[in-house]
């Protein structure tokens, strides 16, 4: 089974490379150069902070772009072009196919973030800032967040067309970062609204768990325990989304 999954994953990764997705890494480099050279004279002593903030934010946003443009369209594109029919008529289960597509995009994101991470480290070292291991922890958690969003995008891709799937993925990103506030607002409002807010809080992934960028830039340490718990949390959500996607996709007419 894993051979077939890896075959689909390898094909997906190769498509990403041939679709020139890695040009985004070059775009990231331009952003970093801009932050370092153009903004530095304007920062009044905060150059190191701004370069690090911009670098981590750009990694997260460009990764989100990949999820929205590629992940949300991954399955639907193959369904519409009917490339999926020749794959699923081989002895490949639908679950294996979805897992393979997801792993292929995972490898793509890992490679992109690794390349961007190298550029980021170079940029930070050129500033007065001290580079700590916690910076790598922040990049790792950015990757985890993107993997959770990718799994959700795969689910939405089996449910809806590319535009709607992208909108749903983006909505999940927005809500995932507002869950704490939504819960607080619900608690203030009380009654049914509090109950609804509590249900929403529990049923959706809290993406702020993966957000330690501000702390890292300020030099606060990141505990291994936090990284471990965030990993367990992220992997659990990935499993949930992929299982839901498999259930939907199993009934899909191709």
């Amino acid at each position: 089974m894993m051979n077939r999954v890896f075959a689909v994953a390898g094909g997906t990764f190769r498509e990403s490379v041939r679709d020139r997705l890695f040009y985004l890494v070059g775009f990231f480099g331009i952003i970093l150069v801009g932050a370092t050279m153009v903004l530095s004279p304007l920062t009044v002593g905060a150059q190191a902070k701004i370069v690090a903030d911009v670098g981590l934010a750009a990694m997260a946003l460009l990764g989100l772009l990949v999820v929205l443009l590629v992940g949300a369209n991954m399955v639907r594109k193959e369904m519409e072009r009917r490339t999926i029919t020749t794959i699923l008529t081989k002895p490949v289960g639908r679950g294996e196919y979805l897992l393979g597509k997801y792993l292929g995009l995972t490898v793509t994101l890992v490679c992109m973030l690794a390349l961007m991470g190298v550029l980021y480290v170079v940029a930070v070292l050129l500033t007065p800032a001290t580079l700590a291991w916690s910076h790598l922890g922040a990049i790792y958690l950015i990757l985890l967040e993107l993997l959770v969003l990718t799994a959700a995008a795969v689910l939405f891709s089996t449910l809806a067309g590319p535009a709607l799937a992208a909108v749903l993925s983006l909505s999940l990103f927005v809500i995932g970062h507002l869950l704490d506030s939504l819960r607080d607002f619900g608690a203030l409002a009380g009654g049914v609204r509090k109950a609804v807010a509590e249900v929403v809080f529990r049923l959706l992934p809290n993406l702020e768990v993966f957000n330690i960028r501000a702390e890292v830039v300020h030099g606060d340490p990141v505990s291994a325990g936090h990284l471990g718990m965030a990993t367990v949390y992220g992997v659990a959500w990935v499993i949930v989304f992929l299982l839901l996607a498999r259930a939907v996709f199993a009934r899909k007419e191709l």
Binding site: R4, A7, R18, T83, T86, L88, K90, P91, E253
Partner: protein
């Protein structure tokens, strides 16, 4: 472009097989309607009570008009759509079991592949899905590219391939792993005459190797030239299954000859029940011959009478007439030939 039987010896990969049944494919009482509209109500059935059995080693065609239910039937066999009712077995295995597709090759109508892959990479990808090891993948790639005469284009990207080349590569991926059952949806659609001939030759070669072939088409001559049996489908229902091996001896011909003199050998021959004069003009008559033997008798009589033979054509045979009549009327079995005096 000619089909070449590959000189390489094709070793069958070690795959599980179920040889307990002589039938390669059994479809029973297939029923499928698609949901339509915002509320997802079930529409008219795309396939309504369809059933047939395909024997091992035969070429079986599904012939029907556009929208008859051919593609839906094939997709139901392959698990791409989920039938509402009915059962399908492939080599004795339930078609819902992915293992049933281990020995099945499929070519969809107008196949589309990732444009950035080369032909060789595409075949390698599909070979990996079949669980072949590296050596087997290399061998299969070579064999299948040769079969479809694409060995010189192995490194060409699919985005740079013509429609005909993509169709051939599609056929090549269907042939990977020497499938026992080949399912092709309109395999000659959009091909030029050379391409169509290549596909015909490949299908006949596969039959010689013992592969069972099921293909769909709405073009009668394509079916007549290769199929052993044909299931005629109309509006989702099966009209009849015709054995073309028997029907080959009953082919209709149309000949245009000079008008005979009364009492001449040709005049006598035209009383043969296998010959029917359909059109009389002062100088030329059009005669329908019901079978090759009758045609031969007509031509002999023309020679003996000194009458010129201006034209001889096949008249589409029973199959095309039946197919067309079946679409137009409720009485599809007898071909209608209009006699004009």
């Amino acid at each position: 472009m000619r089909y070449r039987s590959s000189k390489l010896v094709m070793k069958k990969p070690e795959l599980a097989r179920n040889e307990s049944t002589a039938a390669a494919l059994v479809v029973a009482d297939l029923q499928k309607s698609f949901r339509q509209g915002f509320l997802g109500r079930r529409g008219k059935p795309a396939v309504d009570g369809l059933g047939f059995t395909v024997q091992r080693g035969e070429i079986f065609a599904l012939l029907g008009h556009n929208g008859a239910g051919k593609t839906t039937t094939l997709k139901s066999i392959l698990g791409l759509v989920h039938p509402d009712e009915g059962s399908i077995t492939i080599g004795g295995l339930d078609a819902r079991d992915p293992r049933s597709r281990a020995h099945v090759g499929y070519l969809p109508e107008s196949p589309y592949f990732h444009e950035n892959l080369t032909c060789a990479e595409l075949l390698d990808f599909y070979s990996r899905l079949l669980g072949l090891d590296r050596a087997q993948r290399r061998e299969q790639r070579q064999i299948c590219l040769e079969m479809v005469d694409m060995q010189d284009h192995a490194d060409r990207r699919l985005g740079q391939c013509s429609k005909g080349m993509r169709q051939r590569i599609g056929l090549a991926q269907a042939l990977l792993g020497q499938p026992e059952l080949l399912i092709l949806d309109e395999p000659q659609s959009g091909l030029d005459p050379l391409g169509r001939r290549l596909v015909r030759e490949i299908l006949l070669e596969q039959k010689r190797r013992g592969t069972t072939v099921v293909f769909s088409s709405h073009i009668v001559p394509d079916v007549e030239m290769v199929a052993d049996r044909v299931a005629m489908i109309r509006h989702g229902k099966l009209d009849e299954i015709k054995d073309l091996r028997e029907a080959a001896t009953k082919r209709l011909f149309s000949a245009t000859v000079s008008a005979p003199d009364e009492g001449s050998p040709l005049d006598v021959a035209l009383k043969n029940p296998g010959l029917t004069v359909t059109h009389r003009r002062p100088e030329r008559w059009t005669v329908m011959a019901a079978d090759p033997a009758s045609l031969a008798e007509l031509l002999t009589a023309c020679t003996a009478s000194g009458c010129a033979v201006h034209d001889v054509q096949t008249a589409g045979g029973d199959l095309e007439s039946e197919f067309l009549v079946g679409l137009e009327t409720a009485s599809p079995m007898t071909p209608k030939v209009e006699v004009v005096s």
